[in-house]
Each structure stands twice: as C-alpha cells, then as structure tokens.
C-alpha cells in the first residue's frame, strides 16, 4: 500500500508541538560566536555626510564595525538587476538601509554601540507613493504590454463603458521567524552559512560575491523556516551576507537575527498597486473590451518587481475570457524597502482588479455578480484563449461555479440578504463568490528545473535531499511520500535531509507553488533510476532456472518493503536485504534525479506564450456582516472549493487552502501598512499591524476539493496549491463591496483594499451622505 494520497502528518510535526524543532536562533552558540546588528539610514533618501565610529569602537564587547569599504567583494547585488547595495556606500535609498554592521559579544554591547554611532545624512527628496512616482517619471524597467484584438474600436462600439481606478495596498509577510542567519568561517576562505531562506543557491552565490570568493567556497544550509511566504525568496540574502561578512572579517562565527520591528521596517512587502481601467460590456454583462493600466510600487530597487508585475498582468483575466484586451504595466521606483515576492506574486493584485471590474459591471446593470462571472467565464471548447495566447485546458472553472453555487446555497442566501438589507437599520450583509485560475510554473523558464539526491544506506533506509526548502508547507513530507512509494518502502524508512547547496546545486527558489512539482519530480526521477538498477540486480538474485523462472527485470516489484517476482510472489526478500547484497556486489546505491518542466515558455517582448504547465482552479463564496454605524465587518460564512487534482497529501493540501485563504482575507481586511510623511512605517509590529487572529476565522468554514483526475501533465495528477487559495480571500473584499452597494442609493461603492473598518465607514458615509458623488471620477486623462 502506497502513501501517496494519504493524510500523513507534517514530517516535523512532532518536533513542532514539543518545541524541539530547531530554527536558526535555536542553534547552540559556538565558541567565540559574535552577534551582529546594524545601524541604518535615518532618512529614506539621503547622502552620508559624516560617520563617526570612534565611540562605538570603544564600547566593551564590540569586536568589529564594518561599512561598505570593508566589503572585500561586491557591495552591489540583485536577484535580476544588480541595483542594490548591501551597505550604503554613499546614498541611502530607503529608511533603515544598513550603513554600519556591528559585531559584538553580547546584546547589551550591540545596543550600546548602536547608540554610540554618530551618523549624519543630507536628506534628498524622497518618493513614496505610486502617484508621486508617476508624476516624477520614476520607474524600474520599461512598460510591459499584453494585448489582443482592438480595444479602442471595441470600446467605441460597446453598449456600456465604465471607467474607474483601484488602490490596492501591500502586505507584510509576517513570517513568525524573522530574517536570520549564522555563518561559520572555514578553511581557505570557505564559509558555511545556515540561513532561513527559500533560496539557498542565491544565498550561496551572493555570499560568495560579497566576499569575493568562488561559489564552491560557500555552502548554504537551510533546515527549515519559521514561515516565509515569499519574504525569504530574495531578502533572506541580506542578513546572510551580513553574517558572512562578519565571519569572514573576524574569523569567528557570526549570528544575525532581526527583531520583528527592524524586519518589518527594513524588508520588502507585497507590492501595492494602483490601476486605471475602462471596460466595455453588453446588456448581459458580457465583457467586450478591457483597457487596464497597472502600476506597482516596487520600492527602491528591482528585486523581483518585474516578474511580480508580469504575473499580475498574466492574471488580470483571472477566470474570464476577454476578447479585446490591453493590459499595460509599470513598476514605480520609490524610497521604500524593495518590495518583493509574496505568496501569489502579483497574481492577487491582478485578480482583484478584474473581480472589482466584474462587480462594478454587475452593479451598473443591476445584475447579480455571480451571473456576470459565469457568463464571462472561460469556456471548455470555445472562448478559452488567454490574452497571452495560452489555451485554458482541462478547464474546471464552469464546474466549480456550478457546484459551489449549489453547495453554498448562493441564490437562496442572496434573496435573504436582499430582504435583510432592506429592513435592518443597524447592519448590512454582503455575499460574493470569486474564482481563481492560477498559472503554475515560474514565468522565468530557467527556474523550472530541479535536482534531487537519493542515497540508500545498507540497512535499507533512505535519505533524500532536494533543493526544496521547508517553510511549513509540507514539501519535505510530500517528497518523503514520493520516495517511499517509488521504492516501495515504508514512509518511516525515508528521511529528508536539510536543504544544502553541497548536496543540491544550482537550485531554484522554493516558490511559485512549484516546490513539490519540481523537486518531487526530480526525486521521482532519481528513484526510477535506482529502481531500474535494483530491478536488474534483484532479477538476477530472484531468477531460478530450475523453477523455470528466467532472468526478467520486468517482473521485479518493489512493495511494502519487499522485493519480489510477480510471477511467483513467494520469491521475495526484504528491501534491506536486497540493498545489503547489492552493496556487497558493488551496485551503486545513490542517484541524482533531474526534472525540467516541458513545454513552458513566454516571450516578454510580444506578451505571448505558454508560460504555465497548467492552472490550479478554485472558488470561494464569502458572506460578511457590516455594522452600519461603525464600519466593523465580520466574515460570517465561507465556502471554499478547490481543484487540487489528485492530492498527494490531502491533510497538508487542506492546510494550504485554509491557511492561504485566511492570509488573503487578512490582506483585504485588517492588514494595513501605514507610513508617516518621512516614510517611517508606523505599523511595524503586531501591536499595530493586524494579521487575522483566531477569532477572525469564519464560524462557518466549509472546505472541499473538486474531484479531478484529469491533470495528466503534473506529478501524480496533483496540482500545486501554495499560492492559489490566497487569492480566494478576495471574495471577502468583493462581499464587502457588495454589502456597501446596498447602502443608500445602490451606487457603485468606492472601496480601497484593504477594506479596514475606517475604509468601510468612509464608504458607508459616502454612500449614504447627502453629497455622495454618483460615479468614480474618470482619471484616465491624467495618465495618457
């Protein structure tokens, strides 16, 4: 009996519940180990005028104070474009950008040194908002376009045209384990670094570059992360480089663990977006043309912003066929910490735009938004080509709409809500169903590869290691299941080693929901090779000419820890015994596996291609309750339906769905990044930045998987689930918009994202107030 498809607990669960799991700062301190912290720029944009380290140097316990000139290799780095500085050389481009590294023997010494450092800077005018960046022509990279048909003509001939804009806020990752790394100096310039990173290979190469040593001198080990969500894809590298720099300069182990406030103030977040749109549609709500202009706030450097923008553009259709469409996108350069990957990677910002538009189309026609959604949904034979040209195959979206609207009793509840809202003086209810169609694969083709190493030891136990990093999502558990089944041995006979660049080279980040798809496939490849080799050996061992069983590798089967001949299953031996014999006979018991996703490619210049191996689909139906006097909102009921293909581990998959949804719900409701005029992040800790708490979880919360055995292109017909469920949180925001439409005179409510209590009250006051403007002002002209 195999374990794929079984609900097996997370492979670290036992350590987690007992507090025994080790995270970076749980590692024992080494002899001579130093603690590392930094002093950052006091201004968001400015030039260093003077830096006096004398007093800090005299603090007892301070061992090193390092600045940009102490970097032996490159001080400049970047995941895509090398436009970031590890330590400010001359000009700081965001508040808190590290200027001086401090290494000391104790926390009090670090604190005292920080106070003793005298840094003065000449401020330069900063830019923080998308509007100001547009006005100042401050961008990262050029404009991107994805287009089809003739939007201008189609808009001109559309029966209805609606214009508007949408402001979408960022989001703090709020991984519980803040950024952290420990570096150990080795021989001849070598460094071993333990990092809380999603991308050990990038940490390896960046550390090597900052130290000016070859890549093979650096080993990066990532045992696990206390949450990441994209925040440790590129930005775990800075603390790792800092620790490595101190270790290299002092010859002593060095540890850096950001405190939560510094982490939130100085690392990037989900990109805020602002968009302007013109949509044409007919009397039935069928969209005829869409012109959508997206602007993201990239912060101070490129990081992954261009790829995030690209995914936002590739998801601006979501589940809907857009015959004539023009989506343009630009990344604004501002003086905020560089915004970065965050679960969904631009997808949520793209999807919320089209869902907002669909909601407004429905309101303007006095139709139910679900009807508009179903009418515009991608078809199964026709109307199934995306704006970038990829066909939506194995399209389960119509089935999902159909099933969830029945399961969630959508239309009955809609009637109840109509009545309720007409009579209640104190509350408003809102209801909305939104789908998700999330493209699976890195849009950067190169990254769609993985390697794995499988070692079988002579007692028959197996260690597998891949480039996948464990951040709670359960990739190690799934890889264990895969290896156990492929070798026909018990799950407990397999362990997954810490991810490490000396075992797996040139790995891609564990990101884009692809951790299992890529690394699981590589592990399977290694297992297949091993099995073939062992089958050959076993066939020789099991063959018996006297019994008329000739040598036949095709008849060797591996199952339940046994190896047998299917022609006579009584001819069997334990897997461990086979391995022992194979070792004695000098059979190679280790293997590397490799996988490269076939058939994916995307041309950025033309905006056309087949960027995704497949789509993960799903839908959410959310109901909310709003207090008319205060704007307070409660999510009262949520029904989720996900097409996860065939689950490799239904328990872990369910955890991704529920957890992703709640994280998305936080993004659209309570999680608000507030800055003051100088660019100081005011919401820099959980006291002021509000992720959902346990009492925000809807009391009625139904989660179901769609039965879909047809996803033949992927590993065991499964579907990636890391990011897609987050986008279902958008249904809470559209439900709020739905509720607000009942206030006052059923105008289209203007609502920003997140829909905080304040935003909702402001919208309510506008809807019911005497001087409420009837439609959103058309701002298109300003943009040109």
């Amino acid at each position: 009996m195999g374990v794929i498809g079984k609900d097996i607990p997370h492979d670290s669960a036992r350590g987690h519940v007992t507090g025994q799991s080790l995270f970076i700062d749980d590692m024992p301190f080494a002899r001579n180990e130093l603690l590392v912290d930094f002093v950052g720029s006091p201004v968001a944009h400015g030039v260093i005028e003077s830096l006096d380290l004398q007093a800090a140097r005299e603090v007892d316990g301070v061992v090193a104070l390092l600045t940009a000139k102490d970097v032996p290799g490159h001080n400049t780095f970047g995941a895509v474009v090398k436009d970031e500085q590890l330590l400010v050389g001359d000009t700081a481009v965001f508040l808190g950008q590290p200027v001086v590294l401090i290494a000391a023997t104790s926390q009090p010494a670090l604190r005292a040194a920080k106070k003793a450092i005298r840094l003065t800077m000449r401020p330069l005018p900063p830019i923080f908002s998308i509007d100001d960046a547009i006005a100042a022509n401050s961008f990262l990279g050029g404009e991107r376009v994805i287009a089809r048909g003739n939007v201008t003509t189609a808009l001109a001939s559309s029966r209805h045209v609606l214009e508007g804009s949408l402001v979408v806020g960022g989001q703090e990752h709020f991984y519980l384990e803040s950024q952290a790394a420990v570096a150990f100096p080795g021989e001849h310039g070598a460094i071993t670094i333990h990092s809380s990173t999603q991308h050990p290979t990038e940490v390896q190469s960046l550390v090597a570059e900052v130290l000016g040593v070859p890549f093979n001198h650096v080993t990066c080990i990532a045992k696990r992360m206390g949450g990441a969500f994209g925040g440790k894809e590129t930005q775990a590298a800075q603390p790792a480089m800092m620790a490595a720099l101190v270790a290299a300069r002092t010859g002593r182990p060095a540890r850096i663990v950001y405190n939560k406030d510094d982490d939130m103030r100085t690392t990037g977040k989900r990109h805020p977006f602002k968009s302007w749109y013109t949509v044409g549609f007919d009397d039935d709500g069928l969209i005829t043309a869409l012109d959508l202009k997206l602007f993201s706030n990239g912060g101070c450097s490129t990081d992954l912003s261009l790829a995030v923008l690209e995914r936002a553009m590739l998801h601006s259709d979501n589940a809907y066929y857009l015959p004539n469409v023009r989506i343009t996108g630009r990344v604004c350069r501002t003086n905020l910490p560089s915004n970065t990957a965050f679960r969904g990677f631009g997808g949520p910002q793209g999807v919320v735009n089209i869902e907002n538009i669909v909601e407004e189309v429905a309101l303007s026609l006095a139709m139910d938004a679900l009807e508009v959604r179903r009418r515009n949904c991608y078809g199964t034979g026709t109307r199934n080509s995306t704006p970038y040209g990829q066909r939506v195959q194995n399209n389960t979206l119509p089935r999902i709409f159909e099933k969830l609207s029945v399961d969630a009793d959508y239309f009955q509840r809609r009637r109840e809500i109509d009545t309720f809202n007409a009579t209640s003086k104190t509350h408003l209810r809102g209801l909305s169903m939104t789908p998700v169609k999330f493209g699976i694969s890195f849009t950067k083709k190169t990254l769609n590869q993985a390697n794995a190493l499988v070692n079988i030891y002579t007692d028959g136990t197996v260690m597998v290691s891949t480039g996948a990093t464990e951040m709670g999502q359960g990739v190690h558990t799934r890889v264990r299941q895969i290896v156990a089944d492929e070798l026909g041995i018990a799950y407990d006979a397999v362990i997954v080693g810490a991810t490490s660049t000396d075992k797996n080279h040139n790995t891609s980040p564990t990101a884009a929901s692809s951790g299992t798809d890529l690394n699981g496939a590589a592990a399977r490849d290694a297992c297949c090779k091993l099995r073939a080799r062992l089958a050959e050996f076993a066939a020789r061992e099991l063959a018996d000419a006297a019994a008329g069983l000739d040598f036949s590798r095709e008849h060797v089967q591996f199952q339940d820890g046994m190896v047998f001949d299917t022609r006579d299953p009584s001819r069997r031996m334990r897997f461990a015994e086979l391995i022992c014999r194979a070792y004695i006979q000098r059979v190679n018991l280790g293997e590397r596996g490799f996988y490269a996703t076939p058939g994916v490619d995307f041309n950025r210049e033309t905006g056309k291609g087949h960027p995704f191996l497949y789509f993960t689909n799903g839908a959410a139906c959310s109901e909310i309750l709003i207090d008319r006097f205060t704007g307070e909102m409660t999510v009262t009921r949520v029904d989720l339906l996900m097409d996860a293909g065939q689950c490799i581990n239904p328990g872990i998959d369910r955890g991704q769905v529920v957890g992703g949804f709640v994280q998305g719900m936080g993004w659209v409701t309570t999680e608000e990044l507030k800055y003051d005029d100088a660019g100081v992040l005011l919401s820099h800790s959980p006291t002021t930045y509000k992720i959902p708490a346990i009492s925000d979880v809807p009391r009625v919360f139904n989660v179901e998987f769609l039965d879909n055995p047809d996803n033949a292109v992927s590993l065991y017909r499964s579907k990636a689930l890391g990011e897609p469920p987050l986008l279902l949180g958008i249904s809470v925001w559209t439900a709020a918009k739905d509720a607000l439409s009942y206030a006052g005179s059923r105008q289209i409510p203007r609502l920003q994202l997140p829909a905080t209590v304040e935003q909702i009250l402001t919208a309510l006051t506008r809807q019911t107030g005497p001087a409420a403007p009837s439609t959103q002002p058309a701002i298109r002209a300003e943009i040109g």
Binding site: V17, F23, L176, S424, F629, T687, L761
Partner: protein, 488 residues
C-alpha cells in the same frame, strides 16, 4: 531581606542573582536554560509565541495561567513556578493536545506552535473545550500559516479526560511550601546601577517609593515591559507589588466593586461576569487572555493611555482611585479629576495606587460600552465609547458619555450630556447630539485611524447607542439571519 530571586522552572528551583534578575523570562529560558521551545517573535506580548505557564500559590494550591514570557521579567516571578513547552510532554510521550495538533495539521512552520500548545493545554485543563471557549482562549496566539481552523479542530478532538493536570506532572507538595515562603519574603537586589525591590507590606512599598520617586511600579508589566524591550524606557529602580497579597483582592458590596491594584484583569473579568455583564464583555476584548493574566486595572490607570480599553467605562461610572501614601494615609480621587494631560496625573511622587472603587450601574440604568479596533480581538482601540444613562419614560433624566482615542486623555462630553439631559430619546435628538459630540473632541490621525474617522464615529456612536437601546430587534434579526454569525 533576600538579595536574589527564587524561581522554579519545570519543577527545578533556580536561584537568580544580581543583574540576571532584570532580564526577560523568555531570554532566561532560551539563552540561560536552553529551553528553546519558547520562541520570541514580537517581544511585545502581541503574538503569543513565547507563551509559558506561570504557577503561583493561591488559596493553598498552585494556579497556573498562560502568559507571554517576553514581557514578563524575572523579578516579577519570585516564588513562581514556570512551566514551558518542554515541561508539558508526558515524559517521552506527546500529551493529548500535542497528539491532536499533529493529527489535525495544527502546525505548519512550527514557530507559533509551542505557544499554541501551552495555551491550549491551559484552556483544556480549565475545562474550556467548546469551540467558542477555545477561540477565546487562543486569541492571544497568532499563527500565519494554518488559518487557525486546523488548530480549533485539534482542540475539539482532545479528550479532556485524557489530559493530566499540571499538578499531576508537577505534584504541588514539594513545590508549594518553598514557593509560598519565597512569595512572602521581601527581596532587594542592587546590580549594575539598577535596583529592584519586592516589598511585602503596603507601608514598605510606600516608604520605598518616597525615597526614590523615579521608582517604576510594575504590576503585570504589560506596558512597561514592552517599553523596555523596545528601548523606549530603561528604569533604574523597579518595584513590584506582587508580595502584597491584600492588593490582589476584588470585593463587591452594595453596588461597589473594589479592585486591588494587583488583581489581574482576568480576575476582574471573572468578578464582573454576574454583577456587570457589559463591563465583563469589554474586558473580554481587553488585550488577550495572555495579557489579562498579567495586566491589571491599576496598571491601566497608571499608564494613563487615552486608548486604554477599560478607561471610558470608569469615567462614566465615576470610579474612584484610592491612593496610598506614607503613614498609612489614603485619599480617593474621582477618575474624572485624575488626569492632567497625556499620561500625566495628580498623583504625588510618594503615592501609589492601592485600589480602584467602581460604582456599578443599577438594573434600571442604561450602561453601554463600545470599542472599535482594526481587528476585533487582540487590538488596542481606535475609538471607545461609554454611555451611562437613566431614563424616565422616554426622557433622558441623566446621561454621561466618555470617549477614548479622541484626545490626549479620555474625554467626557459635557455639552452633549447637557444637551441630552431632559430630552426625549428619539432619532432626531440623538442625531443632533451626534453632531454636537463632534465638536467636543480633538482627535488626531495616527496608525489606528484618521481624525475624520474618529469624528465620524463620535457622531455615529450616539446614533448607535440610540438604535441599540430602542430597537434591539434588528440586531437580533441579523444574528438569526445568518445562522451562526455574530454581532459585535
């Protein structure tokens, strides 16, 4: 006078001397004792990853309560027994909470998990096994991975009868005498320019404060602890009142609730369950259970934040603050006259808060408390409102209104109150009063909301109060209408 602390951790006694006494419990656990299961995320009591159980001797038994160890300092724990995640397993076996968390996928990344396990063990040991009880008990623990639903499911799957109580794991007999003796002994520690004093008499406390007015009094430490961790404050002289068992009392007689300065908000919550459900409901939204197990009402008053959750209620009820000073002298100050500005008050340097006297509303009075925050629970208020009124028929005979979060101190609304007195409780009157209320406050824009938002709430809450006291029917309808929804 003892010059060191005596603290038990997972059944073992630790003697803590000198400067070590001034560190946070979480640092002590992680870096001195290598009990790394206790995680630190926010260092401000707002995420629960560092949750541990603190046991103290109460009425001849050890009462264990979960608190956030990051803002608990060792000097607060003299005579206490700390139980960490490492101390909760049954030997090599997982306990039933741990088993259920494994089975139900209650852990993903694992960083918050020890805190959840500790909180859940405490809740189930208290018999809080229902869904709503678990939601309330775990509100101080943040998780970013699971969406909580698997954690609630785990809690519901635990068989409470299979749970061993803490006393089974750590038999109280060998602990209770030494804990009790230590708790009742005075302690004075001088180290590295810092002083800590734990008096055992009120006279001793007052005398010490008189000698050094800069002395900071720490009860639960839930405000001062955060300020110390965030380097906003570094008090050189600290005194806890933990040794004054008299000040832990809460008594009620003839409509007056008297709350000792060291009574925790949890104890106050329990005491108001029957005698003042409205205040009780507000207290249940005050911080989190982890904070309420440490924090005190007197601490809230002394801190004097204009967004303190308990404050507006005390203003409309006319609570009196009992201040103790040298020679056994006491005086009582109406809380409406207590504050002189942002976090400043009329206390003299040699005075300390001994008790708070709260006149409870009678059955024929209207008493309503409201709190608006960005998140419903585990959040400080953006805006608070308290109404205390007496009606004759439909006419407002008297009314007191206090708003929080709208100025440097909690504000009463004298003009609005005067306007409403003698007026009928109808929609037009209340709408006019709402507009008047706007003119009486001076809100600022900050991270928790804009001035406009608060002005609008100031107006709307008068109307909300009216809607609620006259037309509660529609509220009930909304609760029924969505089946399981809740009305806030």
């Amino acid at each position: 006078m003892r010059d060191h602390l005596l603290i038990h951790v997972n059944g073992h006694l630790h003697r803590v001397e000198g400067a070590m006494a001034f560190q946070s419990l979480s640092n002590f656990l992680r870096y001195q004792l290598t009990l790394i299961g206790t995680k630190v995320v926010c260092a401000e009591g707002d995420c629960g990853s560092c949750t541990v159980l603190i046991g103290r001797v109460e009425h001849e038994h050890i009462e264990y309560r979960p608190v956030t160890s990051c803002i608990e300092f060792l000097y607060q724990l003299d005579g206490a027994h700390v139980v960490t995640i490492e101390g909760l397993a049954y030997g090599d076996q997982l306990n039933p909470v741990q088993e259920a968390m494994v089975r139900c996928h209650g852990a993903q990344c694992g960083f918050c998990t020890p805190g959840f396990v500790v909180s859940m063990c405490a809740a189930i040991a208290r018999g809080e096994t229902e869904r709503e009880q678990l939601r309330a008990a775990l509100v101080g623990n943040l998780c970013r991975c699971t969406g909580y639903e698997p954690i609630i499911r785990a809690g519901l799957e635990v068989n409470p009868r299979a749970m061993r109580c803490i006393d089974d794991i750590y038999p109280p007999a060998p602990l209770i005498d030494s804990m009790s003796a230590a708790a009742h002994e005075p302690v004075l520690i001088h180290a590295d320019g810092r002083t800590f004093f734990k008096p055992t008499t009120l006279a001793g406390a007052v005398a010490f404060k008189a000698t050094d007015p800069a002395c900071v009094i720490i009860a639960g430490g839930t405000d001062v602890g955060v300020q110390m961790n965030k380097s906003l404050r570094d008090p050189r002289v600290v005194m806890t009142l933990a040794g004054l068992s008299d000040l832990r009392q809460i008594t009620s007689s003839e409509g007056m609730l008297t709350v000792g300065a060291c009574a925790t908000l949890t104890e106050l919550e329990r005491s108001t369950q029957l005698c003042c459900p409205e205040l009780n409901a507000m207290l249940r939204r005050h911080g989190s259970p982890l904070i309420r197990n440490a924090g005190t009402l007197a601490g809230n008053i002394a801190n004097g934040s204009p967004i303190g959750d308990a404050m507006p209620a005390l203003f409309v009820l006319g609570a009196e603050i009992e201040l103790a000073s040298q020679g056994g002298a006491t005086r009582r100050v109406d809380i409406n006259q207590f504050y002189t500005g942002y976090k400043t008050n009329v206390m003299r340097p040699d005075e300390l808060i001994a008790r708070v006297h709260i006149p409870l509303p009678s059955a024929n009075e209207l008493f309503k408390l409201y709190k608006v925050s960005k998140r419903h629970d585990l959040d400080i208020s953006s805006f608070m409102a308290a109404f205390h009124a007496r009606l004759r028929g439909n006419v407002i005979e008297s009314i007191r209104i206090a708003y929080g979060g709208v100025g440097p101190v909690i504000l009463r609304l004298p003009k609005t109150e005067a306007f409403l007195t003698g007026q009928p409780l109808d929609e037009a009157t209340m709408a006019a009063a709402g507009e008047l209320a706007r003119t009486e406050i001076t809100p600022i824009s900050d991270v928790r909301g804009s001035a406009d938002f608060r002005l609008q709430l100031a107006e709307n809450f008068i109307r909300r109060f009216h809607a609620e006291v006259t037309g509660s029917q529609s509220l009930v309808a909304s609760r029924d209408g969505n089946g399981n929804g809740r009305v806030r």
